[in-house]
């Protein structure tokens, strides 16, 4: 056989193996989590585990609702904060900014994206938490430590802004120039073109990028852990403490594992996180598929 054809086939084979390995890894992870959490699943009903808020490991009661709600609250605040900021930043950079502005902002975004999350956590503790405790919370309640859903959401939001911005820029840059020209040539302003053509054309891409960032945000641990307050209970508002799932696992794994079912319960927490991200991604894929099909 010709040597270059041999190389081609080998490359093909190796790449196929690596791709399969990557997929397998995900399946293995899911299976491992399931097996590890099996004991607690046997001892308690799934319904009770997911929808009870009784968390007394000493008594063998594991209700994950507070943690699930904590995750949802924090992610929600983060996305509400990050989405408009990122969207407008990305639109500014692709549609309006002069080249030298782009040259300044792009590296800054890369640096922000590369900062270790513990630094965001420290920033949250030193800046955001005091602001909430001293300036914002007093308007609504007698006392707040500042370690709240809001603090966690804001820190998380700031963390995912660079990711969202770079994904959005990618999406907007894919809109052909001719399409913008077509709109401008009809007498549209830049803003009209951006809103009615660029955003409309990229709607599915924007949703997909947001989903990716939300998935990332759900799993973010250290920075959130540092500012969320880690109080077990379902938060009733943004000015209450919360305890998202990743924080639960990071705080407790390795300690008190002698307690019956405790390790299995923490593994189950990881499985929930895994499932939530997976289901969220699948659902959004389905929605996007529907939209694309309608528009084709």
């Amino acid at each position: 056989m010709n040597s270059r054809i041999l190389k081609d086939r080998t490359a093909h084979f190796v790449m196929l193996c690596m791709s399969l390995f990557a997929i397998l890894l995900v399946l293995l992870m899911a299976a491992g989590l399931y097996l590890k959490s099996h004991p607690v699943l046997e001892a308690h009903s799934l319904w009770k585990l997911l929808f009870s808020s009784e968390w007394r490991p000493m008594k063998g009661e594991f209700g994950f609702l507070p943690f699930i709600m904590g995750t949802i609250w924090v992610t929600q605040v983060a996305i509400i904060f990050a989405l408009p900021v990122s969207l407008l930043t990305a639109l500014f950079l692709t549609e309006y900014a002069k080249p030298f502005v782009k040259r300044l902002v792009f590296p800054a975004l890369d640096i922000l994206a590369a900062l270790p999350s513990v630094i965001y956590g420290v920033w949250g503790v030193l800046v955001i938490v005091p602001i909430i405790s001293k300036r914002i919370a007093p308007h609504f309640m007698d006392f707040s430590s500042g370690y709240t859903v809001l603090a966690a959401g804001v820190v998380l939001g700031v963390m995912i802004v660079p990711l969202l911005v770079s994904l959005f820029i990618e999406v907007f840059s894919n809109v052909p120039m001719e399409l913008r020209d077509a709109s401008l040539a009809l007498g549209a302003t830049k803003w009209q073109t951006t809103r009615k053509v660029v955003l409309r054309k990229t709607f599915t891409g924007v949703v997909a990028a947001t989903v990716l960032s939300v998935s990332r945000a759900m799993g973010e641990t250290i920075a959130v852990l540092m500012v969320c307050g880690c109080v077990i209970g379902i938060p009733q508002g943004v000015l209450e403490a919360c305890y998202p799932i990743p924080a639960l696992i990071a705080n407790n794994y390795g300690e008190m594992l002698s307690m019956p079912y405790y390790e299995a319960a923490l593994m189950f927490a990881a499985l929930i996180l895994f499932a939530v991200v997976l289901i969220f991604n699948l659902l959004s894929r389905m929605v996007l598929y529907r939209i694309e099909k309608k528009e084709e």
Partner: protein, 250 residues
Amino acid sequence: MAIEVKNLNVYIKENHILKDVNILFPEKQITCIIGPSGCGKSTLLRTLNRLIDSTEHVRLEGQVLVDGVDVIGSGPEITELRRKIGLVSQRPCPLPMSIFDNVAYGCRINRMYRKHRQLIWNVQKQLQAVGLWEEVRGRVRTPASRLSIGQQQRLCLARSLAVEPEYILADEATSALDPISSKTVEDLFVSLKNDYTILMVTHTLRQALRIADNVVFMYMGEVVESGPADSVFHHPQAELTQKYLSGAFS
């Protein structure tokens, strides 16, 4: 109601793209701009409606008089200028919306109609003008991307006409189309010249020969020869024009 270009120079970075261009595009006639690739034909069109503004590092000198008003520099408001000058590009570019919304788009952004009925009426009128109405009347609410390329190009023309322009710029508007659609679009332009001043960049000399009232021959950013089609085609003055027309280069 004519466009007059006076001593126009266009630079992009250090490149001198258009060199001292002087042309008069007469009213309600078809003027074809011919010349080899990269001679500045498209840049000239993009300068007339100032789409060139979105190009980076561009510098314009000279005058472009549209209805006697210089549009280079501060001039009149650019959106109004662009409304007055329709553009049909090489590849059809339907906006990501329905057939109806594509034609209505310009009317809506320019707030042309108070009543929805007037808008519907205008959309229908324009679709009829480009001969698309019979083909799409049952599905004007479906995405424009489902139309064939030839239909899309006629839709783009209808979209331009809907904002009531006075001029139409066509940048090789038929080159991406199959021969039959190409003929349809070409005939459309001929039928439109009673109402509009049409500037057409074209690569096909035969097309220019068929439809042009006036011809501008450009080479390397300069206007080599311009005038009535008949005299440019049959009695070219410049040697370069003779060579180009005889097919010595393209």
